[in-house]
C-alpha cells in the first residue's frame, strides 16, 4: 500500500509533490491532496518561465523507503545473489552484508576468485573438524560434557553446547551491530555464523534487536541510502548521487539536506551551515539572555511574547501600539513611503568613527561584532520560530479551520486548497529566509555591491512574504468569523492565490541568485550594461516581484525608486542607489 503511494507520488506532476511532503505527516491526507491538484494548478501557470524551474526543482532524485520497502529490497537482493551464485539465502545474506549490500560488488568478487571470497567471508564448504555425532564431548566454553544432540556447530564443526551458543549470540547482539558479522567462537576459526543459527537460539527481545541491526545495516552501510534524521522518523531515503539539489523532503514532512543531514538549507551551502551552527552553539550563552523570549512594547514597555507568525505586532489594549517585531519601530513607518515594507533587514555597519582612543575603539569593535552577529542570529532565529508557528497554523488550518470555512462560505473544501497552498508556501519561505541570514552573515564585508544587492533581494523577499503571511493569517480571520458567505470571498481567493504564486516565484529566483553566489553582480566594476540587463537570477526576479506587487498593493512598478527620498534610480539597470553616490553600485554607470 505504502509503496504504491510512493510510486504514484513520483509519477505525479511536480506540484503535487509539494503538498504531500508538507501535510503534517498524516498519510490519509495525502491521497486526497493528489486528487485535487488539478483544481488549483493554474496558480503555477500565470508566470511565464516558472514551469521548467518548478519541474526541475521537484523532479525527484530520491525515493523514500518505509521499513517494509527496505525489507523488500533486502529480500530481493538476497534472492538475486542466492539465485545467481547458487548458494543458500543464509550464505547470500552473509556475503551481501560483508560487501556492504552491493550486489555488483558481490558478483565481481565472487566470480573473480570464489575461494578467496569464501575464506575472507568465512563461508566454508566442508568441516574443519568432524562433528562428534553420537558421542559425548566437552563444551569448550563451559567445560561441561554433553551428548552430541545438545551440541551445535556451524559448517566448521567446532561444537559448543546449546546454552553457550545462546550466551555467545546474545552477548554479541547486545554488544552492537558487530553481531551481524558473527564468527565461530573457536579462536582459530573464522567460519561465519548465519542467521539460521541465530534465529533458533535467540530470545524474542534479542531477535528484535538483531532484526533492527540487520535493517539498519542495509541503510547505513550503503552509500546511496540514509535515514531521515528527524527524531522518531523511521523512513529512509535512497538518493541518486550527483543529481542536483541535495534537498530531500521525507514522508514525515521533515526536509533535510542529504549531503550533511542538517535541516534543508538552500540557498546556503553545507560548509556555511556547519560554521553557522557551530557559531550559534558557541555563542548561545550570550544569545540566551540577549534574546530571551520576549521584547518590551516600545511604547508601554510591557513585555510581549511573539506567538503569531508575522512581524506586525499589535500591543494589547489599552496601548494598541502597532510595531515591527524586528526593529521595534512603529508599523506606520513600514509602509511604502519609507521605501517598501521591512527596510529593517539592513544592518548598518557604518558606525560613526570618532575621536575614540584605542581601548574604546576595541571595545566598540567587539561590541559591533557581537551586534552584527546578534543582528543576523536574531533574524535567523525569528524566522525559525515563525516557521514553526506557521507549520502549527498549517496543521490547524487543515484539521479544523478548513472545514469550518467551508461551512461558513458554502464552498467545497477542494475549492479552499489555495489556503493550504499559501501556508505551505509560507513555511517554505520562512525556511529560505531564515538561511539567507546565515548567508548574509558570511557575505564578505568588502563585497559592497553584492551586499547591497543581497540586502535588496532579501528585503524584497521579506516584504513579499510578510504580505502573504499577513493575508493568510489576519485577512482570513474575517471570513472565518463571518456569519455567512462573504461577497468578496472570491476576491480574497484571487488575492491570496496571486500572492502565493508571486512569492513562490520570487523565492525560487532568490534561491537561484544566492546559489550562484550573486554572480550577476560584478564587484570588480567590469560589469557592462548589456550583461546586467540580460542577467537572469536577481535581475528578472526583481522585475517579476514588481509585477506581482502591481496586482496587489503597489501600482508604480519597478520605477518607483525615483520617488524615494535619499535614493536615485539608475536609468540603465534601475538599481536604487543612495543619494551621495554618483556611480551606480550595480552596473557602474554614471548617474
Amino acid at each position: 500500500m505504502v509503496s504504491e503511494d510512493e510510486l504514484d507520488m513520483q509519477d505525479a506532476a511536480a506540484e503535487s509533490a509539494e503538498d504531500d511532503f508538507y501535510s503534517g505527516g498524516e498519510e490519509d491526507g495525502f491521497d486526497s491532496d493528489d486528487a485535487d491538484v488539478a483544481d488549483y494548478e493554474f496558480i503555477d501557470n500565470d508566470s511565464d518561465d516558472s514551469d521548467d524551474l518548478i519541474s526541475h526543482r521537484y523532479q525527484q532524485n530520491y525515493t523514500i523507503l518505509s521499513e517494509g520497502d527496505i525489507r523488500q529490497r533486502q529480500d530481493d537482493d538476497i534472492m538475486r545473489i542466492a539465485t545467481v551464485l547458487s548458494i543458500s539465502k543464509v550464505a547470500a545474506t552473509i556475503l551481501l552484508r560483508y560487501y556492504n549490500w552491493s550486489v555488483s560488488k558481490v558478483h565481481d568478487e565472487w566470480f573473480a576468485d570464489e575461494e578467496k571470497v569464501r575464506r575472507a567471508v568465512g563461508l566454508l564448504e566442508e568441516p574443519v573438524v568432524p562433528f562428534p555425532d553420537g558421542r559425548e564431548m566437552t563444551c569448550g566454553i563451559c567445560f561441561e560434557t554433553y551428548p552430541s544432540d545438545r551440541l551445535r556447530a556451524v559448517v566448521c564443526g567446532h561444537a559448543f553446547c546449546n546454552s553457550c551458543w545462546a550466551g555467545y549470540i546474545s552477548t554479541a547482539i547486545n554488544d552492537g551491530p558487530g553481531c551481524l558479522m558473527l564468527r565461530c567462537p573457536d579462536p582459530s576459526c573464522n567460519a561465519a555464523v548465519g542467521q539460521d543459527m541465530i534465529n533458533v537460539l535467540t530470545s524474542n527481545e534479542d531477535s528484535d534487536k538483531y532484526s533492527r541491526y540487520f535493517i539498519r545495516s542495509y541503510i547505513e552501510d550503503n552509500r546511496k541510502t540514509k535515514w531521515c534524521p528527524a527524531p522518531g522518523c523511521d523512513y529512509a531515503v535512497d538518493f541518486i548521487v550527483g543529481s542536483g539539489s541535495y534537498d530531500v523532503i521525507c514522508r514525515c514532512a521533515y526536509s533535510f539536506c542529504w549531503n550533511c543531514t542538517e535541516e534543508a538549507h538552500r540557498p546556503v551551502d553545507c560548509g556555511t551551515v556547519a560554521k553557522w551552527i557551530l557559531k550559534n552553539s558557541a555563542e548561545s550563552e550570550n544569545m540566551n539572555w540577549i534574546l530571551a523570549n520576549s521584547k518590551p512594547c516600545p511604547k508601554c514597555k510591557r513585555p510581549i511574547e511573539k506567538n503569531q507568525g508575522c512581524m506586525h505586532i499589535t500591543c494589547t489594549p489599552p496601548c494598541k501600539f502597532e510595531f515591527c517585531w524586528l526593529c521595534l519601530g512603529a508599523w506606520s513607518d513600514h509602509g511604502e513611503r519609507t521605501g517598501g515594507f521591512y527596510a529593517c533587514n539592513r544592518y548598518e555597519t557604518a558606525k560613526q568613527e570618532g575621536v575614540y582612543d584605542d581601548a574604546e575603539k576595541r571595545r566598540e569593535m567587539a561590541k559591533n561584532s557581537l551586534e552584527r552577529y546578534t543582528h543576523y542570529y536574531e533574524r535567523w532565529a525569528t524566522n525559525q520560530t515563525s516557521r514553526q508557528k506557521a507549520l502549527a497554523d498549517l496543521q490547524q488550518m487543515q484539521n479544523v479551520h478548513l472545514e469550518k470555512l467551508s461551512d461558513i462560505q458554502c464552498q467545497p473544501e477542494s475549492q479552499l486548497k489555495f489556503i493550504i497552498e499559501a501556508w505551505l508556501q509560507i513555511v517554505e519561505c520562512r525556511r529560505v529566509l531564515k538561511w539567507t541570514y546565515a548567508y548574509g552573515y558570511y557575505l564578505p564585508e568588502h563585497e559592497h555591491a553584492k551586499r547591497l544587492f543581497f540586502e535588496y533581494l532579501q528585503g524584497e523577499a521579506e516584504s513579499g512574504l510578510e504580505r502573504l503571511h499577513q493575508c493568510a493569517e489576519k485577512e482570513l480571520q474575517i471570513y472565518l468569523n463571518a456569519e455567512g458567505p462573504s461577497k468578496d470571498f472570491n476576491e480574497f481567493r484571487t488575492k491570496l492565490a496571486g500572492l502565493t504564486s508571486v512569492t513562490r516565484n520570487y523565492f525560487e529566483n532568490l534561491v537561484r541568485a544566492l546559489e550562484n553566489g550573486l554572480s550577476d553582480v560584478d564587484s570588480h566594476g567590469a560589469c557592462s550594461r548589456m550583461a546586467s540587463s540580460k542577467s537572469l537570477g536577481g535581475g528578472s526576479s526583481r522585475a517579476r516581484a514588481g509585477r506581482g506587487k502591481g496586482s496587489t498593493s503597489r501600482s508604480s512598478g519597478p520605477s518607483r525608486n525615483i520617488d524615494e527620498p535619499g535614493h536615485w534610480s539608475c536609468e540603465y539597470c534601475t538599481f536604487a542607489n543612495i543619494k551621495p553616490a554618483t556611480i551606480c553600485a550595480m552596473c557602474q554607470q554614471r548617474r
Partner: protein, 153 residues
C-alpha cells in the same frame, strides 16, 4: 559469597592453572575472591625483559567467559603496548575475545607480547616513538627498567 556460585568453568580453569602451570607463568586466585588472580610472568629469554619477574592482576568479570578477563601489569614496564598504569593493548582482551579462550591463553599471549613488542599499534605513544626511532636505545631503557623494577627482590 561471590565464590559460592562460581561457574564450573572458572573452578576447572583454576584447578588446571594450579596443577599444570604454563612455563614461566603462575596464576593463583585470591583467597577472598575466586575471580581475582595474582599473576606472575617471567620475562621471556632473549627479550629486554629477560630476568625480570612481572606482577599482574587478572579479574574475571561477571559475564566471563562471554566477556574477556581484565588484566593489568602491576610492575612498571617499558613496553610500547603497555601504558604507565599497566594497561595492556592486546586484541584478544578487546574485540578479538572469544569465550573459547581461557586465562591460560590470555597469559601466554601477554608473555608473547613481551617477546614481540608491536610499536605500530601503540598504547604508549612516547615509548612507541622511541622504539621506532631508536630501537637499540629503547631496548636499553626496557632492560634498565627491568633491572630497576622487576628484579624480583
Amino acid at each position: 559469597m561471590a565464590n559460592s556460585n562460581l561457574p564450573r568453568r572458572i573452578i576447572k580453569e583454576t584447578q588446571r592453572l594450579l596443577s599444570e602451570p604454563a612455563p614461566g607463568i603462575s596464576a593463583s586466585p585470591s583467597e577472598d575472591n575466586m575471580r581475582y588472580f595474582n599473576v606472575m610472568i617471567l620475562g621471556p629469554t632473549q627479550s629486554p625483559y629477560e630476568g625480570g619477574v612481572f606482577k599482574l592482576e587478572l579479574f574475571l568479570p561477571e559475564e566471563y567467559p562471554m566477556a574477556a578477563p581484565k588484566v593489568r601489569f602491576l610492575t612498571k614496564i617499558y613496553h610500547p603496548n603497555i601504558d604507565k598504569l599497566g594497561r595492556i593493548c592486546l586484541d584478544i582482551l578487546k574485540d578479538k575475545w572469544s569465550p573459547a579462550l581461557q586465562i591460560r591463553t590470555v597469559l601466554l599471549s601477554i608473555q608473547a607480547l613481551l617477546s614481540a613488542p608491536n610499536p605500530d599499534d601503540p598504547l604508549s605513544e612516547n615509548i612507541a616513538k622511541h622504539w621506532k626511532t631508536n630501537e637499540v636505545e629503547a631496548v636499553e631503557t626496557a632492560k634498565e627498567w627491568t633491572r630497576l623494577y622487576a628484579s624480583g627482590a
